[in-house]
Point group: C3
Chain length 211, copies 3
């Protein structure tokens, strides 16, 4: 348990979101500094918004830039790999790896965002809202910058998975379950739901579009 708790989940979340940003930069044909910018914005964007909203200052990466460094390393590794090896990583299906990195980041940030909000003593609904925002914001920045339709707007279950993970964590913690276990359950709930959405194309009933 002690070992598990020392795992830097936040940095892992930052790194996988940075990976999704770097892969988007690859799809858009950007230069090494474009990779660095898009990977870093995607990686630290959600946590930055969370800290701003809660009022933690400076935001997490300003005092200790380890997570920025992680983003830069991920970005340049993907750039250096080159198109042939990136295509191999993607297993022939373009954008698939990006979606899975995004899913992992979504679940990790739903939990770390909710956890930091609860630690700051905010009400339960605010904690869920902050967790969901933290989890979805990095990907939103990435997609708006890259000029593609944000994942949040697609029919697939996405925001739902983040909200579920955040809600599970808040509910369990309110029920007295200790932070690490409730976080693990929240992560599992969010990632499983998002994974099922990716694998089986699950979606919620949507409002009939009239455009």
């Amino acid at each position: 348990m002690q070992v598990l708790q020392s795992i830097p989940f936040e940095t892992i979340g930052v790194a996988v979101f940075a990976l999704s940003g770097a892969l988007m930069a690859a799809h858009k044909g950007m230069d090494p500094f474009g990779f660095a910018l898009l990977a870093t914005l995607t990686g630290v964007g959600g946590g930055t918004l969370r800290d701003l909203l809660i009022g933690i200052r400076p935001v997490f990466w300003v005092g200790d830039p380890t997570d920025v460094l992680a983003c830069l390393i991920v970005a340049e590794l993907v750039f250096v790999l080159g198109p042939r090896r990136v295509a191999m990583m993607e297993g022939g299906r373009r954008g698939r790896l990006l979606l899975w990195a995004d899913a992992l980041g979504l679940a990790l940030f739903a939990v770390t965002g909710t956890g930091k909000a609860l630690a700051a003593g905010v009400p339960a609904l605010s904690a869920v809202a902050l967790g969901t925002t933290t989890a979805t914001f990095g990907g939103i920045i990435r997609d708006i910058f890259a000029g593609t339709t944000p994942l949040v707007l697609r029919q697939e279950i996405y925001v739902t998975a983040a909200a579920l993970g955040a809600s599970v964590m808040v509910a369990l913690q309110a029920a007295g379950v200790e932070p690490f276990l409730s976080g693990a359950a929240g992560f599992a709930a969010a990632f499983t739901l998002r994974a099922l959405a990716l694998l089986r194309g699950w979606s919620l009933p949507a409002f009939p579009r009239r455009d």
Copy 2:
């Protein structure tokens, strides 16, 4: 007067902006969680930016999530109503209700944003800038997320109405008029101007476009 002053204008502004966000989600055919996200971002976006810029922390909805709850209720009510009833609410003219909800939110936020800035003791021009920003930002977020041309960029009078309302309020309060009355005057000025723009297609002379 006492009764009037106890009206929660901020929450009303949040709710009507949330309604405009939910109607946009309906036009885009989103799922229930997409409705929740777009309505909440639109509803609390402007006030969130205002609090960040002034330095109020945490931002207003984190400590007391009543306004987030209002956004979620509005979002799901619109979703549950379904396309036929939403079309009826819109009176056969798609997007019209969205524009009027947006106009009401614009006028309310111009005044609550300016009021909160004045209460924080900022200079007059900053108060006008903060009121205008607060009023326009929620709609900008909504439109950018939904991938439609932001209302602020259309030829119709829009930013102008928010700036007018904020300026009227600041000028009256500087002249010694008490906050509630100067706010009411600012609201009336902003809403009337925006309403006339919607009803009569009023616009300011624009720079001749050369695209």
Copy 3:
């Protein structure tokens, strides 16, 4: 030296970015309040994000709205000039002046952003990240609002110039060079690199695009 140090570089940076915003508003055929909004967002956007991230509150223009006033004056001057004189300023090549104003703002903000971050005592890598963010963010806001492809996404050297200027400044200051001189060197590095990119179409090797 004393004279040079009293030059308000921050306000100059704000004004040239505001000019680039006003020229974009001209290209888009906006009304006077649209000019004011786009110029102000572009002018103060980068510095606002910087202050939020570092935790300086309220942000710089709220306490002293001089820079907002500068943006408004620049915006309305461009509007009043009218299309014929703006076209003359642009020397027959549309968008060229916008690019040069943007380049000047980029170099100035890379240095003022980095300087404010160093003054707040943040680690070196964070200072570079903050300087780069400050320098690029105003232009990103302008381009997203105006619905054009952000300059940061084009193949030309752009983020690279900001990152170079910020890095030069941080390195020199770490080596004991005094702030003003290291800032001047950083400015020169950023502006020269961006100018060469504009004049000669320099670009870095980019990832081969597969869209």
